[in-house]
Amino acid sequence: MSPDAPATNTPAPDQAASEPVLELRGVNTHYGAVHILKDVDLAIYSGELVCLLGGNASGKSTTLRTILGMVKPTTGDVVLNGQVVTTRSTRERVALGVTMVPENRRLFKRLTVGENLEMGAFLRNDADGIATDREWVFELFPRVKERLNQKAGTLSGGEQQMVAIGRALMARPQILLMDEPSMGLAPALVQQNFELIQQIHESGLTVFMVEQNANMALSIADRGWVLQTGRVVLDDTAQNLLAHPDLQASYLGTAEQ
């Protein structure tokens, strides 16, 4: 799906017939007694670039943690490629093709860039495939290749972001989850970072991005949801969301228009 596809009100009409690659069905998640996610329904189709918007403490990161199985939902189901994985471990879900680029990059700082990439392919055993994907990452980010033997903690923020994305790609995922890719980066790098995400998406990956920077995220996304205190309050195409008065008021502010 290209970003300039005609805007429609019903989400993802082209894929209506096909199965979503990732689906949350009526998910409720608690941290202790605190109710974080409230009846969240999401469906992401193959080849999409979608985003989940929300302010602080709206449950964005919890959504990602629920998808990866690092927290288990109280009720509801997580469905990956048609398989219900609600009770499966993170390990099994990663093996099914979902990987996360964590918030703030969070590289393994005292390991080298090369070792970080290896960690991305932790569950894979196909040496040839891993080597191919390594080359692919180097092609995407020539800078990463130059820094291969350097400790990840000594890289600049932009380089770390590249390694973080590269590390996730090394798992050869079907769906890439991105937790606040713009966080902690200089404005010039944020722009570049979103271009990177778009580039990766165009290479055929489904990308699910969680962001606070709604303008930026919607400028490259196909569709989006808005999460407010754990509930999905808006669900629309990117163009419609950008124009939506509520979103304008709550996240984008008037100054940024």
Binding site: S89, T90, F108
Partner: protein, 634 residues
Amino acid sequence: MNMIEALTAARPGSGKTRAAAPARRRLLDQDWRRLACAGAVLAVGQVFIALTGMPVTFDRRLLIDPILSLGYLALLWLPPVVGNWVGREQVLEGMAAYAKGGRDVVAGAMAGLLGNLGLTLLVLGITHFDVRDPLVHWSPQLLGILEFDQSVWLGALVWPAIGAATGALGGAMHWMGDKTARTMVLALSTVFAAAVLESVIVDLSQGFHIEAVSDWLYGPQRGLTLAATAVIVAVAVAASAGFSWARAASGRTAPQASAQPDAAGAGSLPAQTAWRRIPARKLLGWAFAPAAIIVLPLFLGRLTNELLANVGLFILLALGLNIIVGLAGILDLGYVAFFAVGGYSVAVLTSPGSPRFDPEIPWFGALFAAMLLAGLAGLLIGAPVIRMRGDYLAVVTLGFGEIIRILLLSDWLSGTFNGAQGITNIPGVEVFGLATVRGFEPRSVLYLVLFFCAIAIYVSWRLENSRIGRAWMAVREDESVAEAMGVDTVSAKIMAFVTGAVLGSFSGAILSAKVGSVFPHSFAIIVSIVILVVVIFGGMGNIAGVVAGAVVLIGVLGGPNQPGLLQEFAEYKILIYGALLVWMMLQRPEGLIPSARRARELQANDVNQDAWLRAQPAGRATDDAGGTSDRGRP
């Protein structure tokens, strides 16, 4: 104000160079604070060392026969170090290089003089006041040493003079140039090593039947003779000169040469020359080292073998803890528990003196039981604490370490462990009818220890480069992200606990057979702390570092229940551990031997973080060569 006179006297010398480099900091204008600070630090340090009692305790241990005892050395080493530090200035990029010169010597002398005024005050203080009540070493013996058994005034006046002289020597090291300074440090440390290692050298020369050498080196009262000292200095100087000549001839670039562009000179051939040389040398080393390790104990005496066996026991422990702390990043303060499990399992199963389990089994059988039980203990301790993180986990492991000791001591289990009386009469190790390892034959123990060290090193090395090793390191760096990458963090951490526990139990099992008895108090918390210090000091997560840490700390200073080379230091062991640890954390937080990873990083030498941002508009790949070569040029 004779200090100011001294300074003004020094001005003409530094004045000449100042004209050439106007941006340099000047002693008179800005460095008073630094000098005062150094003097104060030195004074406090000297008085502290004097009052710990080291000069008194070490007084009888002669280093160089008639003139220098270890006691005086305890007071002599600090002024040159501080004198050197006070003259040290950073070379700032973009600033004129700071000129070395006479002012360094003056600054060192003044710092030494100021600092040793502390000892003068101490001499006068001891003569006039009596505060022995809180300060045990505020004593006539200390006074006697400080006044050289002469008069109070001699002591009071000589110490500042000594401080000035030794401080000036420290300061002069900047002035005399790197090569001379390095030669001097080499000569001094060789003399120190030769003097301190006296018992080992005597032991060795007896082993090789060259007693004549040790008889010539050391005087009748222990300590190097003056002639031997002179020869050692001459040999060190010659070796240093020969080494730098060889280096210049082969054209190898040392890392420090590239750090100082003007010193590189002849030695700046391309790095490939150095690279190609490595394999052959390494190969030789790989073949030679194990052979030497196997043959050497035959020539060593009881004392050295015993010492090395103790070091080996701690290498085993440290390697085990290294897996838990260094690789998996779990701060375990109760590691002694696994040592105890190993020791007591063997004791109960092999000793006829153990209250229960009458059919005694051979040591190797007991070892398997010990490994099994230690692994089980690792599982039991690991499982509940594994979901905790950081501080909480450390506190809980601390508790478990104590629980094991208290269980061994308890009445409840005294039917098995014999309470505070411990288990005695543990037989030696029968090695398949070929040999017997017994405590009173340190050589046999050493071979057993070496065998298990080899196993432990191999296992550690394989694990470090394995899948589970990478999982451990990922968990250490960032547990949540490791989990998101598909690492089963819970089982990885439990695996680390179990592996570490099994390695630790080897050490306990050997200890039982070596000593012939085990007691609960041998497994006190201090053992955990010492093992942890060894790991941190040597370099966490690095096998060579951990081995080096054990050799230096346990071999030289001694373990919690074992004497080291410097038996004199036994009383001050923990103090020195602490001081070394603080110094290490400040100067080399990566430990004695930084991991290979760090070395590689330094080799790459292209930390050029912002080039990416700068190069952005012009196309990234082409621009960074220029960016890298810009560095280091003012």
